[in-house]
């Protein structure tokens, strides 16, 4: 049964927005009719070629597109990957003939330490200084949709990956105003409910026998972590789990002793740490493993960074984590991963870059189908582009991008749809050897390895 829920900002599911397979199929058919096919590059090239042959590709003026991302500050490492990804995808799109003969020209503004005070001016500069037709972003934190009005006033397209449930309510409640604003990844909310479903899947498939029904949740104080923790808390009962601990830690944190003492007093079957900073999480594992409990350890985001394994070393073996947005390990994903590393060096991070790479490609495709892009103030043309984006089913390096309507946020698979061709895979990974890349253990059909019991658990 397909579950397509429309979550609210407090992490509760308000019900079924479009629960029938028929509804999805109708959209899928509509999208296919509109988008023609999901083989993005080939289709874009074909559209450009057709336009050229028909004599419609006469305007070769570059199309400015932008990104307002953290090029300095604590998130600069990711921001630099976003910049690289947009440059790379623009290069590839231009090699295919741009958008109906017009090449893309990327521009960047630094959102520094992020927050509304940095993000809004950065977006405004992209619009005023460069007249960008679209902003294709990685993530920013701290603005909580405050930049939306700046972009809505200009009437341009904005695709971001802020992984923020507030996007659902902001756009869902006012789709006319925010017609051009899309979140290219599923909201963080899905991490919470998705984890419970994943754990029950491990039990049902016989891969893990849980010693009890207790789950200990440790969250950081940032909104991202709190939303996920609250989602676990809200849904635990319905998945037959009891919350044994709900602890909020102040970050940064390197001394986990008091938290571990509480966990050890009532050992749970699962420890879910929704705080995400890799070095803090590595310290947790270094302090947990010398005296472990018989628990699975799930952590948020941090283990996806090599720093977690480098700092935690052997203590990180067995840790589970998940991501709703990363390049896959299949042929399409690996091809991108290798090309990206070849272009930017072995230390470059294609897993992070993939979000901007895919978004730039499907934006170009949607704009080409819509008959071209629109600059600031060209609302009608940009509405056509937004219509195509809403209807699109795009298979990229991260799997499928397809949007909730009217929320315009990516649909996660299997959390909100059981059809992998209609949702972005919520990938579950496990560190099985800290010297190697983590193994993708779910969901099917994308997994490349099986779940293994962590070394500290006695079978």
């Amino acid at each position: 049964m397909m579950r397509t829920r429309m979550p609210t900002t407090d992490g509760r599911s308000t019900g079924v927005a479009d629960s029938s397979r028929r509804g999805f199929l109708k959209r899928a058919i509509g999208a296919t009719a509109g988008a023609g096919a999901v083989l993005g590059s080939g289709m874009l090239a074909a559209l450009n070629s057709q336009a050229k042959e028909a004599g419609k590709a006469t305007n070769t003026k570059p199309i400015p597109i932008g990104a307002g991302v953290p090029l300095t500050g604590w998130a600069a490492a990711d921001g630099i990957e976003f910049k690289r990804a947009l440059e790379m995808s623009c290069g590839e799109i231009n090699a295919l003939g741009g958008i109906l003969g017009r090449p893309l020209e990327p521009h960047f503004e630094d959102t520094k330490e992020q927050g509304a005070d940095n993000i809004i001016p950065a977006m405004q500069r992209l619009i005023d200084r460069y007249g960008v037709h679209a902003i294709v972003n990685g993530y920013n934190t701290g603005a909580v949709t405050a930049e939306y009005d700046t972009i809505a006033d200009a009437g341009i397209i904005y695709i971001h990956h802020n992984t923020d449930i507030v996007h659902h309510s902001t756009v869902g409640k006012n789709p006319k105003k925010y017609f051009g604003i899309f979140m290219g990844d599923p909201a963080e909310y899905w991490y919470g409910e998705g984890l419970l479903a994943f754990l029950n899947g491990l039990v049902k498939s016989g891969q893990w026998k849980r010693p009890n029904n207790k789950i200990a949740v440790v969250t950081g104080s940032q909104n991202y972590s709190v939303v996920i923790a609250n989602a676990i808390k809200a849904k635990a009962k319905s998945y037959e789990w009891d919350l044994s601990l709900f602890e909020t830690v102040v970050v940064p944190i390197s001394e986990w002793g008091p938290t571990l003492a509480k966990i050890r007093q009532a050992p749970p079957a699962v420890i879910a740490v929704t705080h995400w900073v890799p070095q803090d999480l590595a310290q947790f594992m270094l302090q947990f493993t010398p005296n472990p409990t018989n628990s699975l350890v799930y952590m948020q985001y941090g283990p996806s960074l090599a720093a977690f394994r480098e700092i935690g070393g052997k203590a990180t073996n067995g840790v589970l984590y998940s991501t709703v947005i990363a390049s896959l390990r299949d042929k399409i994903g690996e091809d991108f991963n290798q090309r990206y590393k070849k272009k930017f060096g072995p230390s470059a991070s294609p897993l992070v870059a993939a979000q901007v790479y895919d978004s730039a490609h499907y934006y170009a495709l949607a704009a080409a189908i819509a008959g071209g892009t629109g600059g600031p103030g060209e609302f009608d043309q940009n509405r056509k582009v937004a219509d195509r984006l809403r209807a699109m089913i795009y298979r990229g390096v991260m799997g499928t991008t397809h949007f909730f309507v009217p929320e315009q946020a990516a649909i996660p698979y299997p959390d909100a749809t059981n059809d992998p061709s209609l949702g972005m895979p919520h990938q579950y990974l496990q560190i099985q050897d800290y010297k190697k890349e983590p193994e993708l253990i779910a969901p099917p059909p994308y997994q490349t390895a099986s779940f293994k019991l962590p070394p500290w658990i006695k079978a």
């Binding site: 300095t72 604590w74 940064p252 002793g257 008091p258 003492a261 007093q265 010398p290």
Partner: protein, 292 residues
């Protein structure tokens, strides 16, 4: 029993981290009235210097530590020559120094960011392993930080109390004009204090980064905690700072366990308020340091 040991170990680890972060700040602030807001930056530079020495130059741990100390001394001296020196004769010296060193902290952070990137790094200069005490794992690093913080605090206290340089520092601290008239080379005293403060901060940065990990922003939290320790202890009392650091560490760990981790830091802030109401000069403070 195990829980009590765990809380004690956590408290001592936190206390040692606070103590070692405090030494340099307490020296500069307590001795010569320089509230160095770039102290966190000194820590970061020290940590990265050791990392660069071990990773890029292939230095052994002692040599990497020496390089870190050298970097700390250079940064401390540069802070004197390029910032503090020009403000000594200005009105509102203490306030100007705070503002100037805030700017310096931003420069340090961004230089490190440009040089090493924002990616968190593992400090290679470290002591591996640990020991189990009543089912509680205590890393050797924590023990080393505890020993180093106590030793360094006592050494600085001894230098201030028993040496010629210490007397000169105390003289400048009490009355700069009078010290100048008595032939104390005041400018040299400032240079010495900032250089020593830089060395101590840099070495602290190496040790802290083995637990908290190297990152351009790693200095903020230790700086904040050091500030709290200085306020609670009172200025110019090294032993007081040592006691305050460990008391705060144990208080925080206890509050974290019994009330919740999120209440640990607010409890420390509450303690500051109570201390300032009860003893405005700090628990071990004796009065206002004046400078004319």
């Amino acid at each position: 029993m195990n829980t009590a040991v765990q809380i004690l170990v956590s408290g001592l680890t936190l206390g040692a981290m606070y103590a070692i972060s405090t030494i340099g700040l307490s020296l500069a602030w307590g001795a010569v009235g320089v509230l160095n807001m770039a102290q966190g930056g000194f820590l970061v530079i020290g940590g990265y210097a050791a990392y660069a020495g071990a990773t890029y130059l292939g230095l052994s741990a002692p040599l990497a530590l020496a390089l870190s100390a050298l970097a700390g001394a250079a940064v401390g001296a540069a802070t004197y020559f390029f910032v503090i020196r020009f403000m000594l004769d200005c009105d509102n010296f203490e306030t100007n120094v705070i503002i100037a060193t805030v700017g310096l902290a931003l420069i340090f952070e961004n230089v490190i960011l440009q040089a090493f990137g924002a990616y968190p790094l593992r400090q290679p200069v470290r002591i591996e392993g640990g020991v189990n005490i009543a089912a509680t794992y205590v890393p050797y690093e924590s023990i080393a930080i505890l020993a180093a913080s106590v030793t360094a605090m006592m050494a600085v206290a001894w230098v201030l109390a028993r040496t010629r340089m210490g007397r000169a520092i105390r003289a400048v601290s009490q009355n700069r004009a009078a010290a100048l008239l008595m032939g104390v080379p005041v400018n040299t005293v400032y240079l010495q204090v900032l250089t020593i403060s830089g060395v101590l901060a840099a070495l602290s940065g190496v040790m802290l980064s083995t637990i908290t990990t190297l990152a351009p922003t790693m200095g903020y939290d230790p700086m904040l905690k050091a500030f709290i320790v200085c306020v609670v202890a009172g200025l110019g009392n090294m032993y007081g700072a040592l006691y305050a650091a460990f008391a705060l560490g144990i208080l925080e760990a206890s509050v974290q366990f019994f009330l919740g981790v999120r209440f640990g830091f607010p409890a420390m802030l509450l303690l500051i308020i109570l201390t300032l109401v009860w003893r405005p000069y700090g628990v071990f403070g004796r009065g206002v340091t004046q400078r004319f």
